[in-house]
Assembly symmetry: C2
Homo-oligomer: 436 residues x 2
């Protein structure tokens, strides 16, 4: 029978799952360490909750669910798969008046977009979002950055550079250059700086009809060897929002450092624009030096969005980690996860008498060490091949001689060392190797 | 704005999430301890993978996803949300020839059914499934039972009774009674024994036209003070499958005991029928004594299903834990989870100078103790109220005096004890309380 998976979706077999779970556990532990509280929402929302929130292009990418019964026969849809975790958060805030502010929540789970599948682009993918609602203090931004750095450090990416800017400074820049009404176009071009370089951006802007004065004025802000925050403050001093935004960013960076983020991982970068319209204050993205990859995390302040259903004013700042990119980078850096759920495979020597092996598996498990028990008694050679293919760190063999003596033969895959030991000593040996 | 969640779906706010995560962590750890390997599949499958697998009633409950583009405009659906985790497993086995048997996998995740929502019945709910593929040895059944008991014991339900029967004995019973062609009807009535009692079942069978001899013959097998397995073996000795099924069940129970399941938690029960057609051998369900609730776990051998797409013969045995029922029971038993992600709330005394509080939060976190940092400096009283509402076990206060002395005031919510300590000592005090 010809059978296939849905396009753009993925199965995760055990080796990938061990890797993903390890990373998700690290992210979750870091969220909790920083006081973010867990939240979960359904995979689907009423369709009217989602439509109109992501622009025309986004609306086309929403997976719609056919209504049941007669409405469905007419082709009507009443539900849709969530497109991100932010609109569901806004819906939760509106529905649950008992939630007190400030509210720090994290949410890790899949979202669905009917994008054209491509390398690294999937129709089902996970987001790991943390958001702090109900406060405008820069401590909230600093907490998001501290969380991101610590989580990435745990995953082996302590060298991440968090590039920080402020939406208000980008707006001030457009005003300062006299192209306030074309801010979007300006930012789209600047956003390509990493890809097409300075000359490419200049050419694009000129092609779009921006004057030479605008382009040179732009580089006066974006470029320089001096402190970029000071430069923005000086050049954009004619704009009313500048001083406040500069002071906020300075405080965000200072508090993030106080929270333990190394200064080498914090970089004010006037060229960071972030695509999403809804940001209203500080914005950031994290990139891994030397990795040929976009940002691994991003976020910022978006004070207008979370209150959209509740009608209340709910200031918010958030951080999102990109799980799929982190998976690719970890593989590139050779950060290998555990190969199997349990470190020990207990083989079965005699199909007529599995009891000695069963007892050994139980003893390992009761000592807190996972043990797989080979479920039937095919030839020992086949069981050892199975252990080798799966990558069990340890193999236990209980033959008639061991069974009689109350011992077990344990074999370490990495060193090929083999020991015939009383069960308690075998457990101690494996435990010691796992602690190394 | 009127905003609502999808019908039959749930939001999980932080207190419920802490509880669910604790239970899911325990289940996952027990799966891994028993050598089950993790697997994940997409939320949706191609619609033809799911339709026709769950009977006519099941087909109606499948959530269908509208195709994108022109086909969608015609009302066509090409995808559907998964209805269980078993059909996706069969699809994975067919698609991934590299999977070697035996294959022990676990899968924990949501499934979706467009059932009419009712108390305790949801349209999105989680399944926690473990299956052992590729072997017919009763060790596989015993491993499923051992896993289930150990996981339930970890959750506070070591008193669970695993009621075990065999599909082949039910079939032999129908043959023995001369109603082989009406086995389904017979089992549906027997399945109601818990609800309607012996007289109710007899009345139902007579109402359906079963003869008095059939009904009395039935009770001869189902009732008695003697060992039920021996009784079934004796009364059903005229059927060819009986001896083998009895021997298998005896071995399943013996090996489960060897693996550590208390004999009080293992009960051969000739009345267990399990609804699903696809079981082919041993079947079981777990019930909590004294709880007014159906089974909290169930499973059995189903040798015909997993190979349905691959065309291969893939014997299989599985166990499924019912997360939602376990949640209800845990609440009834007062098994309380942690209240907050981080055990400490660090308050902010002076909005102009949050630095002392930031430093204390960092010190806790770097010592491996989660600390929430109140993000802004509303009145201390408001912060203490927030801590009380959320249920933080510890509150840290850093006023000007403490800041100068390098100390922190920590307050334990449970005892209202308050200490003014150097930061390192405060950390040690909280750590000691968490270890208790």
């Amino acid at each position: 029978m010809d059978v296939n998976r849905a396009r753009g979706a993925r199965d995760f077999l055990p080796p990938q799952m061990h890797e993903r779970q390890g990373v998700l556990d690290a992210i979750r532990a870091t969220f909790e360490e920083h006081g973010f509280e867990p939240l979960d929402t359904p995979a689907f929302e009423r369709i009217e909750v989602l439509t109109g929130k992501y622009g025309d292009e986004g609306d086309k990418l929403i997976f719609k669910i056919l209504a049941r019964g007669e409405a469905g026969e007419r082709g009507e849809c009443d539900l849709a798969l969530r497109y991100d975790l932010t609109v569901p958060l806004a819906r939760v805030v509106a529905m649950h008046g008992e939630l007190r502010m400030p509210f720090k929540r994290y949410h890790m789970g899949p979202v669905w977009r009917a994008d054209r599948p491509a390398r690294g682009r999937f129709r089902e993918f996970w987001q790991c979002d943390g958001d702090i609602l109900g406060t405008t203090e820069p401590t909230a931004e600093a907490e998001c950055l501290a969380f991101a750095w610590r989580a990435l450090d745990r995953m082996g990416f302590g060298d991440v550079v968090l590039r920080i800017n402020d939406r208000r400074l980008l707006k001030a820049l457009a005003c300062h250059l006299g192209v306030e009404d074309r801010e979007g176009e300006l930012l789209i071009a600047v956003d390509k700086l990493d890809k097409i370089g300075r000359d490419g951006v200049s050419a694009e802007l000129e092609g779009r009809g921006f004057g030479a004065g605008v382009v040179s004025g732009l580089w006066e802000v974006l470029e320089g060897d001096d402190d970029p925050l000071e430069r923005m403050g000086r050049v954009l001093a004619d704009q009313p929002a500048t001083a406040g935004a500069v002071a906020t960013l300075r405080e965000v960076v200072r508090r993030a450092e106080l929270l333990g983020v190394p200064s080498t991982s914090l970089s004010i970068d006037p060229t960071i624009a972030r695509g999403l319209d809804y940001y209203t204050g500080p914005i950031w993205e994290g990139v891994i030096p030397g990795a040929n990859m976009g940002s691994v995390c991003s976020g910022g302040r978006y004070d207008g969005l979370v209150g959209m259903f509740s009608g209340q004013d709910v200031p918010a700042v958030g951080i999102s980690l990109g799980l799929d990119r982190l998976m690719v980078l970890r593989e590139e850096r050779g950060l290998a996860p555990k190969a199997t759920s349990a470190p020990v495979l207990v083989t079965i020597y005699d199909s007529e008498n599995p009891d000695p092996s069963i007892r050994v598996a139980r003893a390992f498990r009761e000592a807190g060490i996972g043990a797989d028990l080979f479920p039937d008694a095919r030839k020992l050679k086949a069981q050892l091949k199975y252990a080798d293919q799966r990558g069990y760190p340890w193999i236990a063999i209980v033959g008639p001689r061991e069974s009689e003596a109350g011992t077990v033969q344990i074999k370490e895959a990495a060193t090929r060392a083999q020991h015939d030991l009383p069960v308690a000593d075998a457990i101690a040996t494996v435990r010691a190797s796992l602690a190394r």
